[in-house]
Amino acid sequence: MTNTDASVKDTRQVLLDVKGLKKYFPIRSGFFQKTTGYVKAVDGVDLFIREGETLGLVGESGCGKTTTGRAILRLYELTDGTVHFRSESGEMIDLSGLSKDEMKAIRREMQIIFQDPFSSLNPRMSIERLIAEPLVVHEIGDRASRHKRVVELLEAVGMSGQVAARYPHEFSGGQRQRIGIARALALNPRLIICDEPVSALDVSVQAQVLNIMKDLQEQMSLTYMFIAHDLSVVEHISDRIGVMYLGRIVELTHSEQLYQNPRHPYTEALLSAIPYADPDMVQEEILLEGNVPDPANAPPGCHFHPRCLYAKPICSKEIPQLVPTKDNPEHFVACHRAEELELIPVQPPERLLKQVGG
C-alpha cells in the first residue's frame, strides 16, 4: 500500500460507483400517518471503490454512514441516485434498477458484516448451518461439499473446522465476529461492506479481526467498504477514507492525505478530537460548538456551517460540491474555503515514527 504519492494514478478498475445517493426516511404523524417531513439520512453521496481497495467511511452517530452502506446493498430502497457495480463479466450494472430476483443474484457478490457479533448470529443455529446458510439459499453444492466449504472458511478465519457443530453462545465476541466473516465469505463475494465490524470488541481482539480481514483481502482479492466511527481503526485498514457529516461526504481522499493534509474544517476537528494513545502527543483539541443538527431539520447551505470555525456568509447559502482540490485530483472536498484554509494535520510523536520506521 504505497499511495503516499497521490499523484500516481491508480489504474485499478472501479468496482462500485455511487452517484447522488439519497435515502430519506419519511416522518409520519397524526391520525392518518401523513408524511410531515423527511429525515435525510443520506443526502447526495458520491463515491467509488476500486477493485481490491478498502474505502473507509467515518463520521459520528447519525451521519448516515450505516445507511449509505445498506442503501448500496439495496437493503433499503433508494430515494434517489445510482449505484453501479461491475459484474463478473466486467459490465457496470445499475443496482437501483434491478428487480428483486436480479438483486438476489448479484448479492452473492456483495456481502455485509455487522457490528454486533452477539445479535447477528442466530443462537439456535449451529456454526455449520450459519456459515452454510448463504450456500443453501443460493442452492450451491450438496451437503458434503457444503461441509467441506464450511471447514475451509473456518480455517480461513483462523478457527478450527471442528467448531462447526457448536453454537454461537459458546464463542467469545472476537470468535463470533470471525464466524460472521466466514459466513460473509461463503459465496466468494467481491465486495464486503463492513459496518463497524470491530467496534464491539476489546482492543486485543480487535487487532486479531483487523489482521484477519487484511490477510483475507490479499488472499481473496476482496474489496472492502469499511464503516466505523473510530478514525484510528479506519486509517489503519483503509486505502482511502470518506468523512461524512449529516448525510453528505465532506472530504474523501487517500488515508495519508486525510491526516497529513486535511482540507475540510470538520475533518480537522475530528482529527483533533481523537485521543491519541501516547502521552507525548501534543494535541490541541478544536472544540466544536453545539451538537450535530437533527437530520430532519438540517441547516441550509453547508450542513456544517453553524459549528464551523471558518464559516463565511456563502456557507449558509450554497451547498458546497464535493470536488477535487487544485493540486490533487484524488482529494475531494466539499467546502467553499477548501483552497484557502490552512488546517492542522496530525503529527505523530517522533519516537513512535522512529519505532515503526526501524
Binding site: 500500500m1 459520528e60 452517530s61 467469545s172 472476537g174 470468535q175 476489546d202 482492543v203 486485543s204 481482539v205 480487535q206 487487532a207 486479531q208 483487523l210 489482521n211 466511527h229 478514525l231 484510528s232 481503526v233 486509517e235 489503519h236 485498514i237 488515508s255 495519508e256 491526516y259 497529513q260 476537528a269 475530528l270 482529527l271 483533533s272 478530537a273 481523537i274 485521543p275 491519541y276 494513545a277 501516547d278 502521552p279 507525548d280 502527543m281 494535541q283 483539541e285 472544540l287 466544536l288 451538537n291 450535530v292 496530525v346 503529527q347 505523530p348 519516537r351 513512535l352 515514527l353 515503526v356 520506521g357
Partner: protein, 343 residues
C-alpha cells in the same frame, strides 16, 4: 458562599485500597471479580484504570462506593481506607470503608459527598421523572446544610461549569430533553455539586462521539485543576488514558498486573499483557505499524488457569508461570509489575 470547600493537598494519599477481594456468589460458582488488588489514589491526580471487559475495573470502583449488589456480590477481604482531606487545618480521621454498613449515615456521608461516581450511561443515575435541577439540588441538600435557594444557585453554577448552555433555563428540563452529551455533563455536574475529593468516572465517554468526548474530557481536566479533586478514570480506551492519566493501573481478570506513571506505561510497559495492549492498537499516522494481537481470549471466571492468569496467552510464558501466580515487584521506582520475568 455557604457551601464549604475542602482543602486539598496534591500528592497526598486520599484512598488506599489494600488486598481487596470482591466476589460474586452465583449459581455457577464464585466469581473472583477483584482478586487481591492494592493501590492508592492521590489527591489532585488522575489514576487511569485500564483493562478489557471482565477485568474487574468497574467492580473495584463499585467496591469503593459500596454499591455492590450485596450480599450476592460483596467484599470478602481487604481494606479501603479513605483519608478525608484537611478542613480548616484540622486533620480528619481516616475511615475504613469496608467496615461500614453500606446503608449507614457515615457511608452515605462519604458517598456522593466525598466520593462521587459517574457512569457510562447517564440514565442510570438520572431519574427521568424529575428535572435535572431538582436532582442536583437534592444532592446538594442531602449533603450540606444549605437552603434551597443556595442549592439552586450552586446547581446553576455547576451546570455552567460543565458547559451546559443557558443553565438557568436548562435547570428545569427533564433528562430526556437533553442530548446524550448534555446528559453526561448534567451527571458530571451532579457529581461535582458537593465538591467531591474523588470523582470515579466509569467509561464516562465511551457511548459518546469523539467531538463530544473531547469536550467532556477537557471539562473534567479543567474542573480538576480548579478543585484539585482526584479522578479515578476507568476505561478500555488507551487514547483516553494517554490524554488524561497521571498514573495508570492495568488490570487483567481481577488482578492488577502493572502500575506506573503514564509515560512508563506507554513507553516502557513491563508486563507482557500491557505490551500486548500497546502492540494491538492502531494509531493515526502509523499505518505501517503491524498490529500484533494478543492470541486467545480472556479465560472464563469459572475456569481460571493455575499460576499466572495471563500465561495461556503470554508469548513469554515459562513453566513457572503455569504453576505459580507471580508476586508483585518494583523493578524501577514507582513501577509495579506482577510477572515472573522481573523476579
Amino acid at each position: 458562599m455557604a457551601v464549604e470547600q475542602k482543602e486539598l493537598a496534591v500528592g497526598q494519599e486520599l484512598v488506599r485500597i489494600e488486598d481487596l477481594h470482591t466476589q460474586f456468589f452465583t449459581e455457577q460458582g464464585i466469581v473472583k471479580a477483584v482478586d487481591g488488588v492494592t493501590f492508592s489514589i492521590e489527591q489532585g491526580k488522575t489514576l487511569g484504570v485500564v483493562g478489557e471487559s471482565g477485568c474487574g475495573k468497574s467492580i473495584t470502583a463499585m467496591s469503593i462506593m459500596r454499591l455492590l449488589p450485596e450480599p450476592r456480590g460483596r467484599i470478602v477481604k481487604g481494606k479501603i481506607t479513605f483519608f478525608p482531606p484537611q478542613q480548616n487545618n484540622i486533620n480528619q480521621t481516616s475511615v475504613d470503608i469496608t467496615a461500614l454498613d453500606r446503608h449507614s449515615s457515615q457511608m452515605r456521608g462519604i458517598r456522593g459527598r466525598h466520593i462521587a461516581m459517574i457512569f457510562q450511561e447517564p440514565m442510570t443515575s438520572l431519574n427521568p421523572v424529575y428535572t435535572v435541577g431538582d436532582q442536583i439540588i437534592e444532592a446538594i441538600q442531602l449533603h450540606q446544610q444549605v437552603d434551597r435557594d443556595t442549592a439552586r444557585a450552586r446547581a446553576i453554577e455547576v451546570l455552567e461549569q460543565v458547559d451546559i448552555p443557558d443553565p438557568e433555563r436548562r435547570i428545569s428540563e427533564y433528562p430526556h430533553q437533553m442530548s446524550g452529551g448534555q446528559r453526561q455533563r448534567a451527571m458530571i455536574a451532579m457529581a461535582l455539586s458537593c465538591y467531591p475529593s474523588l470523582l470515579i468516572a466509569d467509561e464516562p465517554t465511551t457511548a459518546l462521539d469523539v467531538t463530544i468526548q473531547a469536550k467532556i474530557l477537557r471539562n473534567m481536566r479543567d474542573l480538576q485543576q480548579e478543585y484539585g479533586m482526584s479522578i479515578m478514570l476507568i476505561t478500555h480506551d488507551l487514547g483516553v488514558i494517554g490524554r488524561m492519566a497521571d498514573e495508570v493501573l492495568v488490570m487483567y481478570v481481577g488482578k492488577k498486573v502493572e502500575q506506573a506513571e503514564v509515560r512508563n506505561i506507554f513507553h516502557n510497559p513491563l508486563h507482557p499483557y500491557t505490551q500486548g495492549l500497546m502492540k494491538s492498537i492502531p494509531l493515526i499516522g502509523l499505518k505501517d505499524k503491524k498490529l500484533v494481537p494478543i492470541t486467545g481470549s480472556v479465560p472464563s471466571p469459572f475456569n481460571l488457569p493455575t499460576g499466572c492468569y495471563f500465561a495461556p496467552r503470554c508469548p513469554q510464558a515459562m513453566d513457572r508461570c503455569r504453576r505459580e501466580a507471580p508476586p508483585e515487584t518494583e523493578p524501577e521506582p514507582g513501577h509495579f509489575v506482577s510477572c515472573w520475568l522481573y523476579k
